[in-house]
Symmetry: C2
Amino acid sequence: MKSKPLAAALLFALGAGYAAAALAQVKPEILVKQRQAKMVLQAKYFGPLAAMAQGKAPYNATVIARNAGYLAVLGEMAWDGYDASTKDVKSRTLPVAYSNADKFKQAQQHFESAVGQLVAAAKGGDEAKVKAAIGGVGKSCGSCHDDFREN
Amino acid sequence: MKSKPLAAALLFALGAGYAAAALAQVKPEILVKQRQAKMVLQAKYFGPLAAMAQGKAPYNATVIARNAGYLAVLGEMAWDGYDASTKDVKSRTLPVAYSNADKFKQAQQHFESAVGQLVAAAKGGDEAKVKAAIGGVGKSCGSCHDDFREN
């Protein structure tokens, strides 16, 4: 790579699609791909916690604290992907996510708040409270999926 | 959701596939999907920075600091997805990523180190240093893609 000019190296690194996207309005298809990516990672880091709360996996406070932190960051990242420009892109998102943006925003805030409570509980270290907080996050996922996602 | 038992609510929230995955060895196909999701988000948050470093988008120190922080967290998240169990799953990852795991690990550490330098530069606030550090991250992406990704 050393012989390539920096700009070319960066373009190469990104792939032309992403570099172009960064320079202008991001294409709706890319926004959908990005928001779906965030959901995949949220599931990755929430899944093991749900299993622990249900007693189906051994309780591991270190993993819970780490994953709660990841979920807090992922929660910050994502909602810009539900831009109105994406409403005609095929996805499981229901039209109401665009037509009732206030309600959708509330559901997002509900998730972020539940994750915040989980982060706090994980710092506290009380296993019963941590499990209850994991349940709270799960409910916030579920109620948002109920209202805004095709099943 | 209130009438559903917690376990059912969590399973619902996660989707059966993810919940099952959390309870046992994660399936190779899911590991690949998760690592690809991380790459999508890395591109999302690195793309605008590359554009700024190339002078193709207005320099924005706030966005740079935020995205650098996201990239640091994403950098932590991801490498477990390149488990040996995934080597036969269709993806752009080249066989050498599995056969020369040490070299692949070095490339991952190169990326994380470059992101660490960007985080530090963003805190320092010197635009020239920040742009150089963005270039360093881009090079680390590119050299890893050169060696370990099908083009």
